[in-house]
């Protein structure tokens, strides 16, 4: 649910990083936080347990700059990955404009990735959103672990498991090293802004947008 403020010429969007426990959602946000300047981001808020597991969410607000005269602000959230925090995931998904699905490349996590994606589809459907139409980016995380001898799933297996129907843009990543983190963020931001502008124009609410140069 984007918020368009014509008084400030500002668009705010909500992007949620989704995925199973320990797949690297928080690590994505932490990397973005560390690599961006103070003037384009707010503080990073984390509600987690002593064991560094997200209990509610992480939050980071970013200013992406101007598009046709509008300041684009995105709010990045993560959800808790563990199965029993489903109520919390539903709360965080409220008003979501785009999703990054972070898949854990470890072979042992194969089932958990699939379960998490099904859970995402179900929770979106409860909010009358479709996983097939919402802006979505797949991130195959922890690709670096192969070099350390861990058994990881080949990308084509992850694609078949998670993305054969959805055909979402996908990125290989090592969030801990920062590889693929900004590529993922750039793609989801682009998709969300495009989706928001399309919806506004379709709904015939673009009158003032046109006045400001159009999206």
């Amino acid at each position: 649910m984007p918020f368009i403020n014509f008084s400030k010429d500002e668009i705010q969007c909500k992007i949620v990083y989704y995925g199973c426990g320990f797949c690297g959602k928080t690590t994505n946000l932490l990397y973005i936080y560390k690599k961006t300047q103070d003037d384009v981001r707010g503080r990073m808020v984390s509600i987690d347990t002593d064991g560094d597991r997200t209990i509610f969410f992480d939050f980071l607000s970013l200013n992406l700059g101007k598009i046709r005269g509008f300041d684009i602000r995105v709010q990045l959230y993560t959800v808790p990955g563990q199965v029993h925090y489903d109520a919390t995931r539903k709360l965080v998904l409220k008003g979501v404009d785009g999703v990054v699905f972070v898949a854990d490349s470890l072979k042992t996590q194969r089932e958990k990735n699939i379960e998490s994606l099904i859970n995402l589809a179900k929770n979106l459907a409860e909010k009358r959103l479709s996983i097939r139409t919402i802006p979505l980016v797949m991130q195959y995380n922890k690709r670096d672990l192969e070099a350390e001898g861990a058994e990881i799933l080949p990308v084509d297996v992850l694609e078949k498991d998670l993305n054969s129907m959805l055909k979402a843009p996908n990125f290989n990543a090592s969030a801990i090293k920062g590889e693929g983190v900004f590529e993922t963020l750039r793609e989801i931001s682009k998709l969300v802004v495009k989706d928001v502008s399309k919806k506004i124009l379709l709904e015939g609410k673009g009158r003032s947008l046109t006045g400001a140069g159009g999206l």
Partner: protein
């Protein structure tokens, strides 16, 4: 579902928040969407990160709503947190918004609540077409 506010809507909302502050002598006032988006704010939030504040407010309300449901209540429509120097009062506005007032010992909770009640109808009048527009 989009929230689109014209310049005129924003000015009217700002005027409502200013009225609350003037009547109650509170420090700052915020209008926040339940998904965590800051819609408007006025007063002196000093160094407060308003985006993080809005996200946490929505989460706070979301969590409290779930507690209400567990207790068989439909919702708790107000929350109050008391601090050593500043206090925060949260109140639902219609189905989709939350008003948050930060105040200190120069005023009272009663006066804050009274000030909000005085502008609530006007605020709902401004907001209801915004949400109806979404279809």
């Amino acid at each position: 579902m989009d929230i689109i506010l014209s310049e005129q809507d924003v000015q009217r909302i700002d005027a409502c928040l200013t009225k609350v502050l003037n009547k109650s002598a509170a420090v700052s006032a915020f209008l926040i969407d339940r998904s965590g988006q800051l819609i408007a704010n006025c007063g002196s939030p000093s160094t407060l990160d308003v985006s993080a504040f809005s996200a946490l407010t929505a989460a706070n309300f979301g969590a409290t709503s779930e507690i209400a449901k567990l207790l068989g209540e439909q919702e708790f429509n107000l929350l109050f947190h008391k601090g050593q120097n500043e206090n925060v009062y949260f109140s639902v506005v219609g189905e989709n918004m939350i008003m948050v007032i930060v105040f200190d010992d120069r005023t009272t909770l009663g006066l804050v609540r009274l000030s909000i009640n005085m502008i609530m109808d006007e605020l709902l009048q401004i907001l209801s077409p915004v949400y109806q527009d979404k279809g």
